[in-house]
Amino acid sequence: MSEKKPKILIITTNHSSYPGANAVGQAHLSYDSNTYIIRVPDPVMFPENFYMKAFEKGIAGIIIMSSGSDCPYEGAYDRLSKRIQNVYNLMKGKNIPINRLKLTTICTVCREAFIKEISDMEKVVAK
């Protein structure tokens, strides 16, 4: 289990997906340890080059677990979605497969969805 695996960065939100990640722990479910969770008020704060720099530094996959339509910040999710489209274009330009960046929505109790997103990204970064 402890062999070195490509690292996955998981960006979570204070309001929903970070408590969601806690809920996964509280339920004592499990996922691989090559996953690194950081929390932000909202991922809308990251410019396109934040993701590109993370890939350059060696992060293999990034999952943005947003609050989706339940986002408490007005208009933030729409802005984030548009920004991620720009990142996909930049990734294509650098020949980075776009499935290494995933924008998804995770709520405070979305335990199964949380595990599934990680499992899907594990398959992507293993290729």
């Binding site: 960065l9 004592h28 950081i38 993370a54 208009g75």
Partner: protein, 602 residues
């Protein structure tokens, strides 16, 4: 400014310009962390990391001894940045901010790294991987705190008034407690009268008193308070503002609008009884199939020696538990929201047994049957009701959770067919004159309010607190509290306790002339700001960000200016600022870049 606030601000000026000296503390959390993660190795690795002056591990960092380590190291060893690797920051962030404050260090010069919920608990079978991950995460925490500026709480003026939404017993109790604490209270009730569901609930446990006496007593007291205003048949059409200064637009019964201002809001919107689907256990197929509230009303109204429905003497009554509760996907029909109610409504078992006992006490000749799933008469002395029911010759049948009894409506009686676990799954046929459905509790439809206040809801659609034990009446939105059954099934005692708690929290919040808020809002580096205005176009909150001409380094220039009371700290403005002149305090892009760098490193 209070002494505490002054102390906090003084600490800012003294600590942050010094050379960083970071202390790292790795918590065992009993064995919750250390059974999986090699905490000694994490501490040893971090002791070699640049700028880390002290690295320790300890059994319980949240204990007073653990906190004392932090305080002593700050006071005696010159520590000016702290990283604690432990449980979720949502549990103990405030605990450790308090410790820093006591030591005279700015409370925000501390980073909390979660190595329990998001590491030891989820990587139990990979101790090496969990340990390596913890090391990387703590290093990232150190990188973040090295780039952290000291922050001061934002202070917003607080109105000494509370808006209570809902006038059931939770709303009335909360309103009364707030008013007794000197706050001005406005109660906003959707229906045409106050008192809520309890006005129609018959006789209640544990006191055996008439349910309606509780809202009646509360109403009298509330109405006698000069600082309480009540609007009935009133609907909220908009909520604006923020903690300390909310504005609620209320449409009154006469069609006119009233603006209600409040420093805090208590949501006490209550519950509804589950209404069975037509045909569910014979519902609507016979006038002799009643819900528990209907039966309780009948029981209280029945005088004399006999209980009757439509002139027919009732000789036998069967009670059915878990109607609309503990439903199973694929077996039970979903509700309007497309979901089944898979939760336990908690109070029905005791309420049913209480009614069965009342029935036997009032009309001893009636045969009583009780068809239950699991007998959950929880609560102080409530087991007694179950024992009393056995003594009262109530006959119990325990049905399997995943099988539904079949109800056949006959011309003269109702037949209930069920398996009985107590007799090794024997098929039973129970014949009764009346079937009482122990209907569960469902949340009221408050979709509009949820939208206006951005209230979090759980998967069961009840309002969700921040933490069931540590912050049981708070939601993630500052200044908004929840009281009573809007949060989940509760009995009368629990409802009143929750309402009192919410009122105390609101009163404590509004006890000072101003309220301290987290300082995590946008801040502008005026030197870097080019005045391009791109950030302004990204901001969704009117007045939170403006462009102003200011004198910077002796020259006049246009710069972005943040109103911290209106800024929500989302960071939408941050992403479009190429020179990184605008950031969310405590969550800067430089900090995140450094964290990712630390995580990505082998």
């Amino acid at each position: 400014m209070s002494k505490e606030n002054q102390k906090e601000e003084n600490a800012v000026n003294e600590s942050y310009r010094q050379k960083p000296k970071v202390a790292v503390y790795v918590c065992h959390c009993g064995g919750n962390i250390s059974d999986v993660i090699d905490v000694k190795r994490v501490a040893a690795e971090l002791s070699k990391y640049p700028n880390v002056a002290i690295s320790r591990e300890y059994a319980f960092m949240c204990s007073s001894t653990g906190q004392d380590f932090v305080v002593d190291d700050i006071k005696n060893n010159g520590i000016n940045r702290v990283v604690i690797a432990a449980c979720s920051p949502f549990l103990h962030e405030l605990t450790f901010r308090g410790a820093l404050n006591r030591a005279g260090l700015n409370p925000y010069l501390y980073e909390h790294v979660n190595i329990r919920e998001q590491s030891s608990w989820v990587h139990k079978n990979d101790k090496e991987g969990a340990t390596l991950k913890a090391i990387s995460l703590v290093k990232a925490g150190v990188e973040k705190i090295l780039r952290q500026d000291p922050l001061n709480s934002i202070r917003v003026e607080a109105l000494h008034s509370v808006a209570v939404i809902g006038a059931g017993i939770a709303g009335l109790r909360a309103a009364l407690s707030c008013a007794e604490n000197g706050l001005d209270v406005t109660i906003i009730e959707k229906s045409d009268s106050i008192g809520g569901n309890l006005r129609r609930s018959g006789n209640i446990y544990p006191t055996g008193e008439k349910a309606s006496s509780i809202p009646e007593n509360l109403s009298k007291k509330v109405l006698s308070m000069k600082n309480v205003k009540i609007y009935t048949q009133a609907e909220i059409s908009f909520v604006g503002g923020y903690v300390g200064n909310f504005q609620l637009n209320v449409k009154k019964s006469d069609g006119n609008f009233e603006k209600v201002k409040a420093g805090a809001i208590i949501v006490a919107t209550g519950f509804n009884h589950y209404i069975p689907h037509e045909g569910e256990y014979g519902w609507k197929k016979s006038t002799f199939v009643l819900t528990l509230p209907q039966f309780n009303e009948l029981l209280e109204q029945s005088a004399g020696s006999e209980i009757e429905i439509e002139g027919k003497k009732i000789k036998s009554v069967a009670f059915m538990h878990c109607v609309g509760s503990r439903q199973i996907d694929g077996i039970d029909k979903p509700g309007k929201n497309g979901k089944v109610n898979d939760y336990c409504s908690r109070i029905c078992c005791t309420a049913i047994i209480h009614s069965a006992n009342r029935l036997k006490e009032k009309f001893p000749y009636v045969d009583v049957f009780d068809i239950y799933t699991d007998m959950r008469t929880y609560g102080m002395h409530h087991e007694k009701y179950y024992k009393d029911a056995s003594k009262n010759d109530v006959i119990f049948f325990r049905r399997p959770l995943e099988e539904r009894p079949v109800v056949e409506i006959g011309s003269d009686s109702i037949k209930i067919k069920t398996k009985d676990v107590l007799t090794m799954n024997e098929e039973m046929e129970i014949e009764a004159d009346v079937l009482v459905l122990g209907t569960g509790i469902v949340p009221n439809d408050i979709s509009d309010l949820v939208e206006y206040l951005k209230l979090p809801r759980g998967s069961d659609s009840f309002l969700q607190e921040v933490h069931p034990k540590l912050r049981p009446v708070e939601v993630s939105n500052n200044g908004i509290f929840i009281a009573g059954t809007a949060q989940g099934p509760m009995d009368v005692m629990e409802t009143l306790q929750a309402a009192n708690t919410a009122a105390v929290k609101a009163a404590a919040l509004l006890s000072s002339p101003d309220i301290p808020l987290d300082p995590f809002v946008a801040v502008v580096d005026e030197d870097k700001c080019t005045g391009c205005g791109l950030c302004l176009a990204e901001c969704s909150y009117s007045g939170a960000l403006t462009m102003m001409e200011k004198e910077v380094n002796g020259k006049k220039k246009k710069v972005a200016v943040v109103n911290p009371a209106l800024c929500k700290g989302c960071g939408a403005c941050v992403a479009v600022c190429e020179p990184r002149a605008i950031n969310v305090a405590g969550w800067t892009l430089d900090q995140f870049d450094a964290m990712v760098e630390a995580i990505a490193k082998e």
